[in-house]
Structures are given as C-alpha cells and as structure tokens.
Amino acid sequence: MSRLLELVAGPLRAMRRGVFWWSVGLAGLVAVTVAFWPAFRGSSGITDAIEQLPAGVIQAFGLANFGTPAGFLRGNLYELFVPLLFAAAAIALVNGQTAGEEAGGRLELLFAQPLDRREVVLGRAFAVLLALAVITIATALTQIVMDAVADLAIDTGRLLSTILLCALLGALHGSLAVAIAGLRARPSLVLGLGLGLALAGYIVAALFPLSDVLDPFRHLSPWDWAFGGNPLEMPTEPWRYASLALPAVLLTLVGVEAIRRRDVAAG
C-alpha cells in the first residue's frame, strides 16, 4: 500500500466504529421519522394546528406545509436535525483525528518520522470526508427505501440534493474543526467552538428572517447558502454546492498550514 493511501486508510480504520454508529444513528432517525408519515399524510388537522403557532416557531423549525411530503421531511429532518447531526459528526470525527490524536501523543509520534505534516493532516481530512460519504450514503439509501415503504412521494433528485447539501454543510463544519485544531489543538475547544458555530449558523438562518433589520444578515450563514433555496421543492442552483465546498477546502488548507508552522506536543 502506498504511503499516502496508508495515511488515509489508517485514520479510516480508526474511525470505523464511529462511522458505523453515526450511520446507524442518522439512518435510524430517518427511518423512524418517515415511518410516521402515513399518520400525517394529507392531515388538514395537523396543518391547521401548526398554522396556529407563532410565525417564528414555524419559521425556526421549518413547519410550513407540514402535511405535504416536502414539508414533513423539512420540518422533521432537513431543517435542523439531519444537517446538525452531519455537522456534529464531521466535527467529532475531525476532532478525534487531529486535536484528540495530538493530545494523545500520536501526532507527535508521526511528526517525529520522515512524514510531511501536511500529508498527515490532509490524509486525515480526506479520511473524514470519506467517512462522511459513507454516512451520507447510509442516510440517502434509508431515506429512499423508507419513502417507498411509507409511500412518501417526493422527487428523488431533490431529496438527494438536500442530503448532499447536508453532507457538504457537515464537511464545511469539519473543515472549520481542522482550522481550529490547526491553530490550537485543544479537543474541548474544537468541539465546543465547532458545535457552537454550527448552532449559531442555524439560528442566523432560521430566526434572522423574522426581523426586518436582521434579515439581510441571514445570508452570512452557511445554513442559508445550503437550504435558502428550499432544495426539497426547488432545483438547487450549482453555486450553493460551491459556496459550501470552496470554503471547506480553504479552511482545511488553513488548518494544515497552521499545524505545519506551530509546535506539536502531547497534551
């Protein structure tokens, strides 16, 4: 096996349990949620009840048109929970492979060998990307199978676009974690700041539209870049994918360069 391949395969091997449980968790969430769709299908009572809620609550949790397939999936899964879980998975996996490994003295061991630090960190970032791909495929397959089982009629292309946007949003937060770990390798900082910024992004995208003053600033949130075009019901413009992927690449490079320049020591 070539050296570069091993620098990806090793971390993947180390993450295999984590990837399995994140996949099971997300697939389980999707399966259980969609299983309830027959009870909600075309229910005007639920729609009427939701319309009684304050506009802010409907906006924040994506509850509009809850009786339609797209509204049901958005409100229950793709407005908050699935994207947030993708972000959390990416941040946790990156944290384990960077700041966690450094605190455990395993990065120090690698950096004392004839290995370029950039190779090591990029290998780990790529391994996390592959791990996210596995979680994405598990989520998408479960969603498609459960849609058929529960007779939830939704455009598969738009569904896959939405799940891909969730994965890219996760990758963006994972790359943010790479940058934080590159600048300061403290596992608690990477987890806390990474998850805090993910939640802040959601709040900006979900709640700022309720205020005329704040509404223009919702475009600062990657959640808005990802889901501002209502991907479950409308075709996704290509720039939305790029707006998540390009900063992810840049943030990863920032983290790689930062760790190349700074001291490395076991915590």
């Binding site: 061991l109 060998q113 004839p114």
Partner: protein, 308 residues
Amino acid sequence: MQSSPTTPEAVRFRGVTRRFGDVRALDAVDVSISTGETVAVLGPNGAGKTTAIGLILGLTAPTAGSVETLGQSPSSAVSSGRVGAMLQASGLPSYVRVAELLEFTRRLYPEPLALSAILERAGLTPLRDRRIDQISGGEAQRLRFAMAIAGNPDLVILDEPTVAMDVETRRSFWADMRRSASEGRTILFATHYLEEADQVADRVLVLDRGTIVADGSGSAIRGRVHARTIRFDLPGADAEMLAGVAGVTAMDIHGDQVKLTSNDADETVHSIYAAGLAVRNIEVTGAGLEEAFLALTDPDRSQTETNR
C-alpha cells in the same frame, strides 16, 4: 545507517532559548554533540530535557537562537530519515498490529532495517501479530524503541527509554544501544535512571531550570562534587542527632543502616567517634552520580530520609 554525508556535529544548539509563557524551559543553551557520541541528558522534572528533544526533532521551535540536527534544520533532518526517535509521551495507534505498525514505519525511511531484524532487536518477535491495544506498558515501550531504530538512523533520540521496562529487558535494551553506538551512531537519551547514564553514556549533560549545569563524563561530573558517602550500622540511630554532625549534608536511614552524605568525610567520621556512637561496619566512598546530580541541581539541599 544511511550513506549520506556525515557531519561532525550531530546536534548543535546556539544560544537556544525556549519560553512557554513566562516559563523559560531552556535559557540561552549552547551545546554541541559530535557524531558517534552517546550522550545522556539528566535533570529533574521540568529541567528542559523534553523541550530540548522536541527542538532537536523540530516538534518545537526555539524562541531565540538556532538548532541544527545533523548539520541541517531539525525538520529537514527528520524528513531525510536520518533521525529515529522514541518519545516519552507518545501514544500508539490501537487499531493495528505490532508488525503492521513497524512495517509502515520502516517503509518511511530510505534504508530501513528488515522487519525481522527490528522485531528481533526489540524482543517483539513473539508479539508481531498482537494488536497494539493488547500489549503491556513495557511491551509498548519496546515497540516505541523498535520504531526509533526501524529506519536504521544516524541519530537516535530516546526520551526516558526504559520507563516501564523490566530489569532483563532494560539490560538487553542497553546492550543493543551499546552495539548501535559501536557502529558509529549518535545516541542521545534523557533519563531519570542515573546508573544508566553512568554506565552507558560517554558524556553526561546535566540540565537544571533550562541551563546546562554540568557537561562531561560521568566520572568527571562525580569528581566535581567533593561529597563523600559514609555508610554504617547504628542500632537506634537518632536522625536529629546525626543531622547535627559536622559536614553532613544529607542522610538516609533504613532501620539500623545509615547513609550520610558529607562534604568533609574526615570531620564527620571524627565527630561520630567523638560522640561515642556505637557504629559498626563503617565505610567511606566517593560520591555517586546521584549525589553529584543532587549537588549540581540543588546545591542547598539538605535531605533527610528516615525509614525505620
């Protein structure tokens, strides 16, 4: 060993200072280590030993001054595969087997040892297929050593290499290091075991509070200290009374056995007999490296240990 051109200096520190916040881990250190030397670095906790090793390996950058490893920047020397390191706090990946990790490591170097030779030298042949999360602390330490020698490096850096090793493993480890040194390798090790430094190293560097307080052979360092050790048996030894005997700077009492460290052995022995103490089996020897180390790193120390 690599066939690349050798340099007369394996390690060179020029005015190296390394600060961590307000703490000076190393303070304007100037030192040179020639190729082929076996050098022990001694020092109490926090003396700067691990920082110095991190600087030699390029894991840490100096705040001021410069470090050269094998005539180049530390990171270049490590990248070239001429340096092997065994680090004190380094973790090991838990998901691979011993032979897999060593095979990965050896292939990073341009002229590595054969896998079977590495396993043999580290005493890991019976463990080659064992998962790393199933080996003991001593075995993990041998694995770290195996990783350090896997690339057949010119310079071997060892940070507390024999911690957690049993006596037999420790003996074979140092036998292997002596053989490596006789082949012309430079070996630099930090240790808390003073007898190892005394027995293995051609040269001992004593670090204290970030500065080198002694540099020479073990015997030369012992010679810098005028202290002598006086041992005798004394039933019912009174620590308070013995502490007041002329010349005594430290004392260790275990049951009836007393060990005094004195900066004037003649005066101390005279005072003991003048006090009418019923001492038996009295023996006066030169200071060991331990006494020298204590005197160099904490000259004001007056230590009394009683264990009855």
